[in-house]
């Protein structure tokens, strides 16, 4: 064997170990992600599976745990039929959708306008006001629920749709998110638009907004999910059962005395989750990008 072929072989050896290390690293990452994913997905899948079983099956299958606790051996759609024909659950879903859409539209409008003002306009105490605004993010709804209720009452809005989302129109997280996004737009681009004859409002709509679309998508998704999952406030402010949202309706299923509703409960939980999953998948591309870029200068 000549010297050169020796070194060649040695190099190949090095190459092979490096490749094996990379392979192992990748394998480990995938495994870890799979485990985490499974932990998160399991309860949802279990609920979805259970929604295809009759209430009796669910109750008897819970103890002791066995194969049939998880897999519907006698799959049935009776829960869904009951849910949508007897309980009129579509009504609640629609209410949730109305609340979520209201929340999203109001939050998008206020967050983008306020975020733009904090990013681009100069006014006295701008940064102080912004700081105070961020502080309100740390006040939980529970802490202000009584005064909030009284204010809604005063406006005569109790048990109306707007009451579900109006109190959360000004959203510190959304404003922060949009402000960061607007700050990342080069100032020169807006100056060019000014010279081109655009008014501030025109610049906002034609130049600034289109360039923060990923962040807007993030905002839409976050607000939608937040509103979709809201429970306490709707429970308090919505006293008209016809306008009640799905989450509260689901909770009510649990509290009917002497009549177990586990089957419809799981069906409702599944029905309420599906739209979120779809929305997340559709917006995922923007969602990740929006969150990642919002931190960078």
């Amino acid at each position: 064997m000549t010297a050169s072929s020796l070194t060649l072989q040695a190099e190949e050896g090095v190459d092979r170990t490096a490749r094996r290390a990379a392979f192992l690293h990748r394998g480990a990452s995938i495994l870890l992600l799979a485990v985490v994913g499974a932990v998160f997905a399991f309860p949802i899948l279990w609920a979805a599976m259970s929604s295809l079983k009759s209430t009796d099956d669910i109750i008897t299958g819970t103890y002791p745990l066995s194969w049939s606790s998880f897999v519907p051996l006698k799959a049935t759609l009776e829960n869904y039929v009951y849910l949508f024909s007897e309980l009129n659950f579509q009504r609640n879903l629609l209410n949730t959708l109305i609340a979520a859409c209201g929340q999203v539209s109001v939050a998008v409008i206020t967050s983008s306008l306020a975020g733009y003002a904090f990013a681009r306009l100069n006014f006295p105490f701008r940064d102080v006001v912004f700081g105070l605004l961020l502080l309100t993010a740390f006040v939980p709804v529970e802490a202000i629920i009584v005064p909030l209720y009284r204010i809604m009452h005063w406006f005569g809005l109790v048990s109306t749709y707007p009451a579900l989302f109006l109190p959360f129109a000004c959203n510190p997280f959304g404003i922060f998110l949009m402000r960061q996004a607007f700050r990342d737009i080069p100032v020169e681009m807006e100056e060019a638009a000014r010279l081109d004859g655009a008014s501030p409002l025109r610049i906002f709509f034609s130049i600034a907004l289109p360039n923060v679309r990923p962040t807007l998508a993030t905002l839409v998704l976050i607000q939608f999910i937040w509103s979709w999952n809201a429970y306490l406030w709707p429970l308090v402010i919505m006293q008209d059962p016809n306008k009640q949202i799905a989450q509260v309706a689901i909770a009510n299923l649990k509290s009917i005395p002497n009549s177990p509703m586990d089957g419809p409960l799981f069906a409702a939980a599944t029905a309420v989750t599906i739209p979120l999953v779809i929305l997340s998948i559709v917006l995922q591309r923007y969602y990740v990008r929006g969150l990642v870029t919002s931190g960078m200068k």
């Binding site: 080069p186 020169e188 681009m189 100056e191 060019a192 638009a193 000014r194 010279l195 081109d196 004859g197 655009a198 025109r202 034609s206 130049i207 289109p210 360039n211």
Partner: protein, 363 residues
């Protein structure tokens, strides 16, 4: 089209004064270049003309009206930014159409104007592309197209070529110049590249620390810099400066601090015996001859067309540029004399140009 009058304009940010009284008259149709080192206030002045910065004091007049308090969009100026500042979410066509749509110009007119501009800038094939799909040079052209379609009274450029590679820069230089010759729109152009300034400008404004050092045609500045700053700033390689004094006996001689004698063509009025700075450009040394001074060569850089020699005259660093091919090695000496017609003298204290009697008469 319009002339621009800048009268004693000042600018401060809070207590920091950036421009200390700048006056420039720009006749209609002229191509004026602002040059100066980084931070001297070129962009600030340009942005004040555009209306993007307020005027602290003084007047800026475009055409027949003072525009100090006129909004940018009503000044009828178009600006090309260093970063181009294209709208990333619009096609090339829409980038150019934006201002025209805002001005409510009929669609057909907009289309004609854009096609004409695109033709002029070889952008026709790219009109439906987005900025991210263009090369640096093409983006630069779109930025110019956006300015041209508006047919403004004034073009403003802020270092438009500094993001391009050297070759493209030279090409765009020519194109911008040609464009100006065609459109004859009054233009203010900022750069810190003095070659760009020399090759493109009708007149150059040399700025330094917020004041105007000199305004003149490129050759004016090259031949008759009014002070040491301009003399050192214009020309590449830079002018050589030797400190010393004019001979006291009235002979036309300059004596450097370390005793070398250099010839003068004329002596400035009451110049005899005076402390001064002797300025001579690298290309104005002549090889050999009587009364030559010895340069000790340190580095030689032949470029083919000429040879640059970095050398020492006594304690002073001196650069010479020669058309001839000279055959020396580092450490050897060459004898040179300054070309008498191209010697500059500056006051040792103020740095102001000392006018020779003859020059003063000619002026």
């Amino acid at each position: 089209m319009a002339q621009i009058d800048i009268r004693d304009v000042r600018k401060s940010y809070g207590t920091t004064a950036v421009l200390h009284g700048v006056s420039i008259d720009i006749p209609d149709g002229e191509f004026v270049i602002l040059v100066g080192p980084s931070g001297c206030g070129k962009s600030t002045l340009l942005r004040m003309i555009a209306g993007l910065e307020t005027v602290t004091d003084g007047d800026i007049q475009i055409g027949s009206r003072v525009v100090n308090h006129v909004a940018p969009k009503d000044r009828d100026v178009a600006m090309v930014f260093q970063s181009y500042a294209l709208y990333p979410h619009m096609t090339v066509y829409d980038n150019m159409a934006f201002s025209l749509q805002l001005a409510r110009i009929p669609k057909a007119d907009i289309d004609t104007r854009i096609r004409n501009a695109a033709e002029m800038l070889s952008l026709t094939a790219l009109l439906q592309r987005y900025p991210r799909q263009l090369s640096g040079g093409q983006r630069q052209r779109v930025a110019m197209g956006r300015a041209i379609v508006r047919n403004p009274q004034v073009f403003l450029f802020d270092e438009p070529l500094s993001n391009l590679d050297a070759k493209l820069r030279v090409q765009m230089r020519t194109e911008i110049k040609a464009l100006h010759q065609r459109l004859k729109t009054t233009t203010v152009y900022v750069t810190h590249d003095q070659i760009e300034a020399m090759t493109m400008a009708d007149r150059i404004v040399v700025m330094h620390d917020g004041i105007v050092e000199q305004i003149g045609t490129p050759l004016d500045l090259y031949d008759r810099p009014v002070n040491l700053f301009v003399a050192g700033f214009i020309g590449s390689p830079a002018m050589n400066f030797l400190s010393g004094r004019i001979a006291a006996d009235g002979s036309k001689t300059f004596i450097t601090d370390d005793g070398y004698k250099l010839p003068l063509k004329n002596i400035p009025a009451d110049g005899a015996g005076r402390q001064a700075i002797y300025g001579i450009r690298p290309e104005h040394f002549v090889l050999g001859g009587a009364n030559a001074v010895p340069l000790t060569v340190e580095v030689i850089e032949p470029t083919g067309s000429e040879t640059q020699v970095f050398a020492k005259l006594g304690d002073n660093n001196v650069v010479g540029v020669f058309r001839e091919r000279i055959d020396v090695r580092p450490g050897q000496t060459i004898s040179v004399i300054p070309d008498l017609d191209h010697v500059h003298l500056f006051d040792a204290d103020t740095g102001a140009r000392l006018v020779a009697r003859k020059e003063a008469l000619a002026a």
